[in-house]
Point group: none
Chain length 119, copies 2
């Protein structure tokens, strides 16, 4: 496979990574910190929130130009979910269970299915 | 169940409703109208776009503080998609199919399951 064919897919993976980082920034963001003397600690997440949001949109737009809209959205959502779950478990020490994973899979199938079945 | 336990989930549903209203505002928005003598007709959607976007982010941040990142993202995406589908069918007279309904049901089962299985 040529590199040029791979580019939209790499953009798609990059977009999903950005969306993961964007979600994480939102979680780490403390709006109240922005008005206190400790405000510098809130600037990192705020910049991440804005920056990852913009890069995410750009990469997604690049991917959409070549890959169909449905596929782009489905893969982007599914990848983001998977990445976020990894962050949750590895970094934020959240627990996981097979039950939870099964229900997440149901939601993922529903999201992707709904997008694919759309007329 | 105490109200305090329900609050993050209510925020999550509210965030999804805002995201739906935000998407709808974007659909109704005519950027070109903003530079014509008919610009007042474009102000409503523009205000909705900005307002719902902000409230959406705040409610999402509130939900994330209690619910795990993965669950928040999955439920938010899925609910938004379901709400938009409802708006499409009821308001914008779009068609619907049993296939779509089946996928919506999968999403619903997944969300309820996650809520029940949540630690």
């Amino acid at each position: 496979m040529k590199l040029v064919n791979l580019l939209p897919w790499l953009s798609l993976v990059g977009a999903a990574l950005c969306q993961t980082a964007w979600t994480l920034s939102l979680k780490l963001l403390r709006w109240s910190d922005l008005t206190t003397p400790q405000w510098p600690s809130a600037v990192g997440p705020l910049l991440g929130y804005i920056g990852f949001g913009i890069v995410n949109t750009i990469l997604l737009a690049v991917a959409m130009r070549t890959i169909t809209l449905t596929t782009t959205f489905a893969v982007w959502t599914a990848l983001t979910l998977a990445f976020i779950k990894c962050v949750d478990v590895i970094w934020l020490q959240a627990g996981w269970s097979w039950t939870e994973l099964a229900f997440l899979l149901l939601i993922a199938i529903g999201i992707v299915g709904l997008k694919v079945a759309a007329p």
